[in-house]
Symmetry: D2
């Protein structure tokens, strides 16, 4: 059947940051329509949120269980096609599991779950059902990130030797969780965030980005996590040394007490022939550094013939028209939508069209969290990735 | 009545750049729904375009006349609320006029018309009907542009002395109109573009930005326009000296033969107490320069209490999450939608919510075009703005 | 005879900015030794200044006349080889003329003289004596400026179409000449500075840079000069449209009321094949912009084989070791010293070693000043360069 | 006695990079005169080098021993005041020791010696003789580095929490030591460089800069050093986790295989109230990041009243006139010269005038080298700084 794909949302009610982001990302390209939602654990709040989104009253639910159960009974041309999960970490597993078990595709915020155990269970379920599962590690949605990955894959930098991935933020420099900040509240609360704070929230983005761009896998980690703000229960800063599977070395650091930094996710990769650099706050630029010729500055949307197909597909505008965070996020929704349509039509997608973070990325994210926390507890002992 | 606002589109079929931009901008915030369109003068092409956009077959029209006539007969809860016009310049006036005359609000791409005469007629019609008319000078939609305007209005830079507005592009460095480039084709064709090429296409953006940010009006202009590419019929480069109404001096230049430049719209304003700088390719940054203290770098979404309400409303994301061209464009659609709802409800909007370019901006844009073309023909003679 | 070249200085006593610059530039490479000076019109001040510079008491003079007369009588191995003139504009001609007439080479600050008439007289004298005359338009001393010139000369950008040269400063935004600022005092005083203020002081730098880099000559100018600060007698801001001899168009602006700007001399040049950009506050970078490939970033000292000989010779350090204003200045002194030695040995220098601004540059600078002042007085009428 | 200070140089003959740097730095301010040298272990090469520097033939020596012995016999007004040592690491100790033992002050390139043992012996000697000893960790000579130090000392950033110091270079990405590169040759040779390669050559700069700016001391280190280029004998890359004495955490990395990087020494410091960032390739800028107000950009030479005295003294030019590597280097020579004069006159210098790296810095540099090498050998075990 034709028409836009129909989305049901779990979480993302009033006061949510990431829920609105998911909705704008889903809206942008006109391929997806929000048709229903369980926006809050408070039925009243969910109702208010759904009405503000112009939903039909009957499609605003008080819980995800109600939503999934009810939608399942609707005729195919009406019922939602997939569930978007935008709740805090501890509330990912429940709706994801139930959606998959009831035949709904899932797109879920990161990290994929509260624990590695949950992630493994989800992986098993995705494999078993064959449904589409996307994880919104949105930074891999940027065109220049895709171009970086393609260049390295084609060997343009030669064998990779060194990777530096960093994600400094400053917004938790004070004890913001003692104010009414909803965002700070759950992220610093072990019962909702999991065993890691900063490392789970943004360290996993850096980890995912490093593996996505380089195509390498982290093999061993040595970490030093810190809680700088008095009374906080989870790490708000961490530094990690990395050994990759090909012999490359790495540094990853993430911080939420890097006072004055906004969201400076940055990656540098150095190979035998050259290096590259990408910075999220200037996302349409990819700097190439060469041993024997001047630097080159690639820009989103430039019409250079050597641009990768993945980068071209991820860009909506001619060069010089800045695309940002929402467009990168929308690229995940767009490719996810492609995959859902392909699933429906029993088609196989080209790799470039399946280019979104999936359950495997979620699993590695949880392994990363568990490994760095364990290494830090053992005074930065080197630990094999994912074996703790 | 509630629900999303309903949009009908004129132009923007297959191969169009700006049509897709308008649709994404309209989609982003979930306030507007595309319900019908006349996407091409070819009925078949219009049909194909509309189907790809998941429109109902019956709402895909072969001409704007058909669209307006038919939609007018639909019940209010079905029929379009406003028309979005995304055709080349020579095709703005017809649909705008007919839409207004039939009670539909209009949002129109820039420049507002083919000639100053048409612009005056539209102004008269907008004034008479009281309908909402927005012009997508999208660069004024950026949060940092709004902040710049607010700062100057509050006198933070003191009396303004000097303004430098520039818009260099390089994409017409060769005779691209001889290829199958639809974009180059109409822009360099006097029968579709009007009396100016570069000055109409991008010079008007610089003009609009300069007046928007400074709150000043251009009083006299001295221009030197050039056609650099052999065989081209309209200016592809121009330099303009400006005298503003308060005594400030200005320079405006726009070029489409600035080889290697993407879309480097930039403005610098200097007052008695300080200066500011904004660059479209780094749109989330506003640099403040002071006589007696270090530079300051404002960033979109920063939570500084002195941010203007207009800038805050124009930003969807926390600091560090880059917003781009589409978000700025969407701000015009969002404020336009507010105005349409207010019109429907007989409400008066606060100034901050009527913050979008309107018919007056369109009129001044046409005056700018006519003045610079006339001045250049008279060997850069100083001419009063809009009096030619 | 061997040994360092011996320099005598006119001006540059206590409180001087540019005198110290000249001395550091002359010192840097160990090729020149300051042996004597007439540092001030006050003999006592000259003495104090000379002593602070460790000069022999007998070589500290009370006037340039005394210096030239006395030094001429010294044996060749003792007496100064050349005179460095670092006085305000109205005091260039006297010492330059007397030095040349007495067989001393001259290196002089810019603009070369107080009036075009003086400049012509000096040109005649330099031509007649065959002595070496250098003018410290120091910005052409930067390696990346030389590289830009070489690239354009070799046709890498194709035929040049557009040039934008700008020099905004903010330090005269208030009436600084009413304080004890020696620098502001003479620059805003027509009796010491000449007929132009901002245009003479820094506009000439932009003019010289534009002609040096492009190899083009300005053919006609249209200028709009302004005095923004109440009670000031000379222009503190100016905008100029330019027509070059090859048909290229240009914009030049200079301002001393661009509040918050330091010394942002910048040039952009666009040709048929590409463009380039250089900015004095980031002097070791030259950005190349291409029609069909990504931007390239050249850096001082990079070991790329296509670097011009002129750029290589102008750099003392490996890449990554920033060279600045003084090193650029020193390049003029170094090439001037080469020319003086060659003169002594009756050798002919290769062009790359005569690469310093000379009397012809001084003459064109004075023509520029006279033309822009005249054009501005005639309401920006286009005037042929140098014909006023 | 008056006059310029007289310098004798050890090393720095033909083909040397750093020897020429020291001479230019010593020349710049006109306070120091090169009077003699032993420029090479080859007497002939030393002679050729000295002649090119316009030295008197009798003051060009075949060995440092000859130089020190001979100069000691000269009358005070002729003989050198101090020795500048610019040889490879293994040749620092001999001349430094002999110079000190014979009453000559010493300025020496870094790292101070071949081993920690040698460094300790020198420290003992400096303490015993009371002579002036400077170490050219030149990056601390930049005005903005001094300003950063002053701001942190005054508590403007609050208690320091995190420090990230990095020094990526790419020039040893290939086995350059197999070519005729003199620079690569000794740096990769354990018999001339010592136990570390990259970490000794540039890691120590990052270490020195971090301690200088923050005023903190490194307390424990965990390092992972790597040799990436086949056949190389010393580390060409290293990553270090740091624990500082006040509880702050740090990351330091240095690399000579970061392909395409020039000399990107950079430091970021985050405290409870704000952060700062400085980058050697843009040395005149210091970026301040605040929790609750916009970023500020300090610039060398800006006349802001809160500038520290140390920064002001380290700047020769008004704002907007870029000062570079040589000027920073010259600041060490200038302050060293002040100290030598003060020693001669039995004066005590204000702290701001003794602001140059000294023997203590040299000692800590050697401790750093020994600690990181030992930690890396023990699989990144945390080791107390300097206790190996």
């Amino acid at each position: 059947m034709s028409g836009k794909l129909k989305m049901g949302m779990v979480g993302g009610g009033e006061g949510s940051f990431i829920g609105a982001v998911h909705r704008m990302a889903a809206n942008l390209d006109g391929e997806i329509s929000l048709v229903c939602g369980a926006f809050s654990s408070s039925a009243e709040k969910s109702k208010r949120s759904g009405e503000a989104l112009y939903l039909e009253p009957g499609r605003i639910y008080g819980s995800y269980e109600e939503m999934i159960t009810t939608e399942k009974t609707l005729p195919e041309e009406e019922r939602m096609d997939f569930v978007s999960i935008v709740t805090p970490n501890h509330m990912h597993f429940g709706p994801a599991k139930m959606a998959l078990e009831n035949g709904f595709h899932v797109i879920c915020d990161k990290p994929v779950a509260f624990s590695l155990e949950e992630a493994k269970a989800l992986k098993e379920l995705v494999d078993r059902t064959g449904l589409v599962f996307a994880l919104t590690h949105n930074y891999t949605g940027y065109p220049m990130v895709k171009e970086a990955r393609a260049m390295i894959k084609e060997g343009k930098l030669g064998k990779i030797r060194k990777v530096v991935a960093e994600y400094p933020q400053g917004w938790l420099s004070t004890k913001l969780e003692d104010t009414d900040s909803k965002q700070a509240g759950w992220r610093t609360d072990p019962s909702r965030s999991g065993i890691a704070g900063c490392m789970g929230d943004i360290g996993t983005h850096a980890e995912n980005l490093a593996e996505y761009i380089t195509g390498l896998k982290m093999k061993a980690l040595s970490a030093d996590l810190t809680i700088f703000v008095d009374g906080r229960l989870l790490d708000d800063d961490g530094s990690v040394l990395i050994r990759f599977d090909n012999g490359a070395k790495g540094i990853l650091f993430a911080s939420q007490i890097a006072a004055g930094e906004e969201n400076e996710l940055k990656i540098r990769v150095y190979g035998e022939k050259g290096g590259l650099e990408w910075l999220q706050s200037d996302p349409n630029t990819l700097t190439l550094k060469w041993l024997d010729q001047p630097r080159q500055v690639l820009r989103t949307g430039g019409n250079y013939t050597y641009y990768s197909e993945a980068a071209r597909k991820a860009s909506r505008l001619p060069s010089g028209h800045p695309e940002g965070y929402l467009e990168a996020f929308a690229n995940i929704y767009l490719n996810f939508a492609n995959a859902v349509r392909a699933h429906r039509n029993n088609q196989t997608l080209a790799e470039v069209d399946r280019d979104f973070p999936a359950i495997e990325d979620g699993l590695r994210g949880m392994m990363f969290i568990e490994t760095v926390v364990a290494s830090s507890k053992q005074n930065s002992r080197w630990l094999e990735f994912g074996t703790v």
